[in-house]
């Protein structure tokens, strides 16, 4: 039933913004941002169950927890950066949106550097 809630919130926000936009475009923008935040919060709560599932899954298969934590961190950063970029794009500031995306990419690469170096280490150690 949650999907119904989310879709309703989305449709109501769209109707509101369309009607308000002619009179007050700045308030229409605010409405769209708030609707986006609401949907985001509703979805993030659901996401915890998926993450829990992944964690138990990996524990059962005896996978190193470091892989999972790094991947989860990367996913979180991607979510936050994408959300911020989308809000900026909605407000018509696509240049700021692209900067936010750039920041997200840089942080993800910083997180990924240990993985890349450890891969290199592995290859070097494998060589006779």
């Amino acid at each position: 039933m949650d999907i119904l809630q989310i879709v309703c919130i989305g449709i109501i926000a769209v109707i509101l913004t369309v009607t308000i936009r002619q009179q007050k475009p700045e308030i229409a923008m605010l409405v769209s941002i708030v609707a986006g935040l609401l949907i985001f919060v509703l979805i993030v709560v659901k996401l915890t169950s998926v993450i829990d599932f992944i964690k138990t899954f990996s524990r059962k298969a005896d996978i190193d927890a470091t892989y999972i934590t790094i991947l989860l961190k990367i996913a979180g950063i991607a979510y936050i950066a994408e959300f911020g970029a989308e809000v900026c794009k909605d407000a018509g500031e696509s240049s700021i949106a692209s900067k936010i995306e750039l920041a997200g990419k840089v942080t993800i690469v910083i997180l990924a550097v240990p993985i890349i170096t450890s891969l290199l280490d592995l290859v070097v150690k494998l060589m006779p």
Binding site: L47, S58, T66, A81, A112, V113, L119, D121
Partner: protein, 214 residues
């Protein structure tokens, strides 16, 4: 051997399943490309890692990750501390300049019949050098109080140069005369006093003090 193969295959299958789940979860955008790259690396590590155990040398990913992230953090802290030092030095120089200007104004304001209109202080702002904070130049603008103007004092006369009647009109001398400027002895005295005061109180070379009286 069979046990090793079994755990290896289970590992690969679960990690690839988790990665697929991840790719579904991750928002579709420009960042997705990088995430697929990183997840590919993770899968590669999971595939290669058991071979190391076969060679009897252990490889701990979490240790490597920690070492690398520690290195990155260290670099970050170093850079930010450098930046902080610079801004701190700049702020110190700014405050020092302001206080110096205030003190100079006080010092010069002690003289009677004179008010300070503007003081500028230049100091050595290179925080790496040992002489950081050394005063390089002081310029003080003084204004005579209006009271003096009201008093009816005898107007000073331009100091007259010796007139040489006999000598033919030397062009050079004429030019010199044109360049002659009237210097009020009172102004001279005030300038000297201000310079002396500043020299005493701040231990600044007299040559680097500039006083203008308006």
């Amino acid at each position: 051997m069979l046990e090793f193969l079994r755990s290896w295959i289970i590992n690969i299958v679960t990690i690839s399943l988790i990665l697929i789940l991840f790719e579904i979860i991750v928002p579709s955008g420009k960042i997705k490309k990088i995430i697929t790259l990183v997840s590919g690396f993770v899968l590669l590590i999971a595939v290669v890692n058991p071979f190391l155990q076969l060679k009897n040398s252990n490889f701990d990913l979490s240790e490597a990750v920690q070492a690398d992230s520690f290195y990155i953090d260290q670099k970050e802290v170093e850079n930010s501390s450098k930046l902080l030092e610079e801004t701190q030095a700049r702020q110190i120089a700014e405050v020092y300049k302001k206080k110096l200007a205030l003190r100079i104004e006080e010092e010069a304001g002690k003289l009677e019949g004179v008010s300070v209109t503007k003081t500028t202080v230049e100091i050595n702002e290179d925080y790496n050098s040992e002489k950081f904070g050394e005063i390089t130049k002081i310029s003080v603008e003084l204004k005579k109080a209006s009271k003096e103007k009201d008093k009816k004092t005898i107007e000073p006369v331009v100091t007259v140069e010796k007139i040489d009647i006999n000598a033919g009109l030397n062009k050079k001398k004429e030019k010199e005369k044109e360049g002659l400027k009237f210097v009020d002895p009172e102004d001279k005295r005030l300038t000297e006093l201000v310079k002396q005061n500043l020299n005493k109180s701040l231990e600044v070379n007299k040559e680097s003090i500039e006083v203008t009286i308006t």
